[in-house]
């Protein structure tokens, strides 16, 4: 066993570091640091996507024939870790990490040829149409309906929690095409042009003060049958495949560590009156750091299993559960570390383009919004309660 990387892997690490150092602008870095929601705004995120694409790194997890870089699991880990350390913007994961793998796995040749290059280049910006007002954790109870009319489906219904629907030109969605004996039957996976007539988008502000999610309404929206991925009625299978990716992309510890580092630096600074001198704060920083160490080791164990072709099993639910809980512990700690400044609200967005002097030092601007918005981590992508159900069922057989 060996925790260190080999010569080729270290060379790759240097390559990634060099690439990021050369291409990541100060503006992108500052904008990312000052984004208190999960995703970067598209102008920032897509600029980075184009940069990656030019290097051939636009879609790390894809097979080579569709433009993936053919990295080993260790290389992917190094890439994600170095990206987190350097503070690069979030790219449009709904495209690269969610719908991309589904199109590659189940899409038609025409769909692959049309959509995949546009995801890579950043030409398309995707959003995810899964949850509905009446279908949260019980996702397969969804009611948005697609009725066949010649070569089209006519879609009616509504989707909610749609991240960046107000920026996206495309949505992948689960819709009901028939009523089967089980509610999981009769669901289809369709690709929707967000500019189609009959689609309206309502912003939803989250408690941290950010506009990231929306509700989307479909009123007799025509979608060509050719835009269905895979077979009619099999959408649940494809959708679940995607959720595995969403939960288990598996490399979260580096980002958590950067988050904790920022809080630890604040705690050691005069800006917070050296919060770290309180033994309670110092111990809590250690507790969170140790939790990150454990998560990182679990990620590396999974990675080692993947390297030798083993199936890591239901561990993606463990990773999702712990990542979300630790993320919340980091942001909770942050709100306590900044002390008095946790009382101030900065309502303007984006925080990296304020046209006035904020009430607190810039390093603190995201702390409380991140804590507040961060409550969503244990809810989206399958709540912690759902993850525990999955662990009980898949790992423990109960």
């Amino acid at each position: 066993m060996d925790l260190s990387f080999n010569t080729e892997e270290r060379a790759f690490q240097d390559e990634v570091r060099g690439f990021i150092a050369k291409n990541l602008t100060e503006e992108m870095k500052r904008a990312t640091a000052l984004t208190p929601s999960v995703f970067s705004d598209p102008d920032i995120g897509m600029a980075w996507q184009r940069t990656l694409h030019k290097q051939g790194w636009g879609a790390p997890g894809w097979p080579v024939e569709h433009g993936g870089p053919d990295w080993t699991p260790a290389q992917r880990w190094i890439f994600e870790t170095e990206s987190a350390r350097a503070g690069v913007p979030n790219v449009n994961v709904m495209g690269v990490k969610m719908v991309g793998p589904v199109i590659i796995g189940f899409g038609s040749p025409e769909q692959k040829n049309f959509y995949l290059p546009r995801i890579l280049s950043g030409e398309d910006y995707w959003c995810q149409g899964y949850s509905e007002p009446g279908s949260g954790s019980d996702l397969s109870s969804l009611k948005t309906r697609a009725v066949r009319d010649g070569d089209d489906y006519i879609i009616n219904g509504t989707k909610i929690w749609t991240t960046h629907a107000h920026h996206a030109n495309r949505m992948f969605a689960l819709v009901r095409t028939s009523d089967g004996p089980r509610q999981q039957d009769g669901i289809s996976f369709v690709l929707i042009d967000m500019n189609a007539p009959g689609i309206t988008t309502r912003p939803i502000l989250t408690i941290g003060g950010d506009h990231e999610v929306n509700q989307v309404f479909f009123d007799d929206v025509r979608v060509p049958v050719a835009n269905r991925v895979g077979e009619e009625g099999k959408g649940w299978t494809y959708g679940k495949y995607l959720l595995e990716f969403e939960r288990g992309s598996g490399i979260a510890s580096a980002k958590l560590r950067e988050g904790l580092k920022a809080i630890a630096e604040l705690a050691e600074s005069d800006l917070t009156g050296r919060a770290i001198d309180s033994p309670d704060i110092a111990t809590r920083i250690s507790e969170v750091e140790v939790d990150i160490d454990a998560l990182e080791m679990t990620e590396l164990r999974v990675l080692s299993a993947l390297q030798t072709g083993q199936n890591p099993g239901a561990v993606s639910s463990i990773l999702k559960l712990r990542n979300s809980e630790i993320r919340q512990a980091v942001t909770r700690l942050g709100a306590d570390v900044i002390g008095h400044d946790a009382l101030a609200v900065e309502p303007m967005r984006p925080l990296y383009r304020l046209n006035h002097e904020p009430a607190m030092p810039e390093e603190m601007l995201t702390v409380v919004p991140e804590y507040l918005n961060g409550r969503a981590y244990t809810i989206f992508g399958g709540t912690s309660e759902i993850q525990r159900d999955i662990i009980a069922k898949m790992m423990l057989g109960i």
Partner: protein, 382 residues
């Protein structure tokens, strides 16, 4: 980067698990609990034959040159069976201190005997007033014309009653007075003025308190050349904690499996306990914490040879985290077994008690989160 077991490591795991499953059942454990020695000399002999006592010792002294990962593979299996043989005291602590601090003659005299099973060791360091601070040693070793004169009180000495040689730490006072250095001294069992009072240890095995009253030792009793032994003590204890971490993982895994099985067969209100979501989620949390503990134990083992600060932070972080998980899993295992869980009729209690002992040994969670924080002051996490 590779965390998969090698073929040799897999074989070691298989043979350790097979041995424990075959030799360590509830009857054996009950017999050992009532045994004045607290373990079986026949089993110790088998450990020697299997090469486990030689495992971490260097090849030049009759060992196999294994590392902390191999020790962890063994101790995890020991945890599954609540093995009570003095493995940590003799092999992980004792032999390591001799190998690191001893002179060649001492190493040649002691290590081959540990490897072949003919000599057991113990490490007498902890003192009541020091709590878990390894640097605090009130025992004094005065330099004399003949050698050394030791006085002091040691507590919680693992398996001291069984050891042929006890390694005792003491502050060295030379003719000029306190030297500021801690020395390690080899004290043979039954040395006059060494009073060993042993007791049954929580969760199996034995430990003892030792009174040293003007104990006369020859010059050669000092391990090595009298350099300050504190760095070696910290290293050895961090290593022992990594071995104990793996043992705790084995114990927790058994408790998870046992409790899971029980909730499937125990029926109340006309259905198995495991049909209730509150029970399923509790078990899911237990499974997550076993997995986290497994990760941390491995991490501590892989960092035993890192630089002292990195090693110590990994050791304390793992001990703190696993201690907390151990309490949760132990307490919840009893809770989910209901009234039967608090009786001696099931073995859940025995496994729980070993976990409580684990959390106490070398300092509990609070102590080690504190040490982790102290060592990390002004060091931004890397």
């Amino acid at each position: 980067m590779d965390l998969n077991l090698s073929d040799e490591q897999r074989l070691l795991r298989e043979s350790a698990e097979r041995f424990v499953a075959g030799s360590y059942d509830a009857d054996h454990r009950r017999k050992m609990a009532n045994d004045p020695l607290g373990f079986s000399p026949a089993v110790w002999k088998q450990f020697a034959e299997l090469g486990w006592l030689a495992l971490p010792i260097a090849e030049e002294f009759g060992g196999l040159g294994g590392g902390a990962v191999e020790i962890g593979i063994l101790t995890e299996a020991f945890g599954r069976g609540l093995v009570s043989e003095p493995y940590i005291a003799t092999v992980v602590l004792g032999a390591a201190l001799v190998e690191r601090c001893g002179g060649t003659v001492q190493k040649q005299a002691i290590l081959p005997k540990v490897a072949d099973g003919s000599l057991k060791l113990a490490f007498a360091h902890s003192e009541r007033a020091a709590r878990f601070d390894l640097a605090k040693v009130a025992t004094i070793a005065n330099k004399t014309a003949q050698g050394w004169r030791l006085s002091g009180s040691k507590v919680a000495v693992l398996d001291g009653h069984a050891a042929g040689e006890i390694i005792v730490s003491a502050h060295i006072h030379d003719y000029q007075g306190p030297s500021g250095r801690i020395g390690l001294f080899l004290v043979p069992a039954k040395t006059p003025s060494v009073a060993v009072s042993d007791y049954e240890r929580l969760g199996g095995g034995r430990a003892c308190n030792i009174e040293l009253s003007d104990v006369q030792l020859p010059q050669a009793a000092l391990l090595g050349d009298g350099h300050d032994a504190l760095p070696a003590i910290e290293w050895a204890v961090d290593r022992a904690m990594a071995a104990l971490d793996a043992e705790a993982v084995g114990i927790m895994q058994v408790l998870l499996e046992t409790t899971l099985e029980y909730t499937k067969i125990r029926k109340q209100f006309g259905r198995p306990l495991s049909a209730n979501q509150v029970i399923r989620h509790r078990l899911a949390d237990m499974a997550v914490q076993v997995d986290e503990s497994r990760s941390m134990a491995l991490r501590a083992a892989l960092k035993v040879d890192a630089n002292p600060v990195e090693r110590a932070r990994a050791a304390s972080g793992a001990k703190a985290k696993i201690g907390r998980c151990a309490r949760f899993i132990g307490e919840q295992s009893i809770q989910l077994h209901g009234g039967m869980g608090v009786t001696e009729e099931l073995e859940v209690g025995a496994y729980f008690k070993r976990l409580v002992a684990f959390d106490t040994l070398f300092g509990g969670s609070a102590h080690h989160y504190g040490r982790h924080a102290q060592l990390g002051r002004n060091v931004v996490p890397a």
